[in-house]
Amino acid sequence: MRTLRDALITFQRTPLLSALSVTTIAFSLFAFGLFGLVALNIREALDRLEDRVEIRAFIADSTETEQVAQAAGDIATFPQVLSAQVVTQAQALARAQRELGEFRDVFEGAVLPASIDVRLKPGMRDPATVKRVAARVKAFPFIDDIRYGEEWIEKLYRLRNIAGIAGLGLGIAFAAVSMIIIGATIRMAVLARAKEISIMRLVGATDSYIRRPFLIEGFTKGVLGGLLALLLTWIARTVIDRYLIQTVFFDGKLIALGLLAGALIGLVGSSVSVGRHLRRI
């Protein structure tokens, strides 16, 4: 009880510095949050797109139907493959006409090649796996050509990685700054209470007891910073959602992780500082 009261006193004593430390933690996590949101949404988009990832292997005209069917059966047994379906010339034409709607006349009397359409299992749709499976399919002698959306998949993956790394880099930089600021507030708090601390020691308070309110203070600031960051990120997301594109937000687990990160920044910052300054009293 006393510890908690002591921890809260600092907020009253140095309101500006306390607000500053909460804000920097918030910005640190906001940077994490924004880029995390970008990464999350790209991932979401990738998942949706990946659902449509198909490897289409075009079959040479003269190939026997049985041979094609057998090959499709073989491909279906690849561990990464969800299904391998034979699309005949007639089916290909029908599909093209259906997909292109009003331009269907273009295909009047056209001949489209038959193909084996390969769909991959979820989690096996990253560029490397797609490429590997495509190469294996291409090894069948009657496969003329093979298509899969290699370029845009790779671009999206790269974008996601860049967003992730940028968020991480900025977040870590901000986290370092907030730890330094928290350290400074703790230093002031320790010095302001130097006499009290020396008396505590004299009458036999343990170091961990003396340290506790400062740690609680750091922890509280971290959690407050986390909540503020959450609010900022949510506002940013709402704005983007309304004026730009539809986006998804973090789930409960990621939110908890964010708050935990804030608490950790606060705790580490205060713990390092209090350890250093208590030794001087």
């Binding site: 008396i199 004299l202 009458v203 036999g204 308070a205 170091d207 007891y209 003396i210």
Partner: protein
């Protein structure tokens, strides 16, 4: 109870503060520690409550050895000691009662015991009526009494007093000294560093004189 064995304290900058001291303090003793400024009295007392540890040799207090004690052991030891200083070291923004209760709170004493213990300590030092006064509202002698009450509240086996009357006039000095005698009579050992030779001369208590870090006279060893 307290035992110095060839204890020497050397500070890197100022040199030797305590030089090869061997002595022991028994249960319930009253000891005057005297000698000129810089003789090493304060350092010797600091070694008792392990604010300082000897550079060589050992100090053993109530089973806690300066050689092996960890921070936690030192904290625990101090709960069995009472320490008072010339400058009282009271918290200005707390009342007398709160200053005394502070010593119990920060060592995790059960809440329901704090009130009665504080009241008893205040009565013991003759300040039962001044519990709600702030230090600035008390005289020097009264402030030192509050500090002594804080030192007594944990029922220490020894009271360490570093020049407790250094800031007080004659009358207050006599009062504080009488209080220390009463405390001693009730069974608590007292180690008191003082410059006040007048005070010592009138007493029969054991006197240890220090000079340049060494014990130059100990009435317990001198022929009577």
């Amino acid at each position: 109870m307290i035992r110095f064995t060839h204890a020497t304290k050397v500070y890197p900058r100022t040199g030797t503060a305590v030089d090869d001291v061997t002595l022991s303090v028994g249960r319930g003793e009253f000891i005057f520690l005297t000698g000129p400024s810089g003789a090493g009295k304060t350092t010797l007392l600091k070694m008792v409550y392990m604010e300082e540890r000897p550079t060589t040799g050992e100090v053993k207090v109530s089973g806690t050895s300066s050689v092996t004690a960890r921070q936690r052991d030192v904290a625990r030891l101090r709960r069995k000691l009472g320490i008072v200083f010339q400058d009282f070291r009271l918290l200005e923004n707390r009342t007398a009662e709160q200053n005394i209760a502070f010593a119990l709170e920060v060592t995790g004493a059960p809440q329901h015991l704090i009130g009665p213990k504080v009241a008893r300590a205040l009565t013991q030092v003759g300040l039962a009526a001044k519990g709600t006064s702030f230090p600035r509202e008390l005289s020097g002698g009264e402030q030192q009494r509050v500090a002594i009450a804080r030192a007594l509240v944990n029922d220490p086996f020894v009271l360490i007093a570093d020049e407790p009357t250094g800031n007080l006039d004659d009358r207050a000095t006599r009062g504080i000294f009488q209080l220390l005698r009463d405390i001693n009579a009730a069974g608590t050992a007292v180690m008191m560093a003082t410059h006040n030779l007048e005070l010592i001369r009138r007493q029969e208590f054991r006197t240890i004189e220090m000079n340049r870090g060494a014990v130059v006279f100990d009435s317990a060893e001198a022929p009577r």
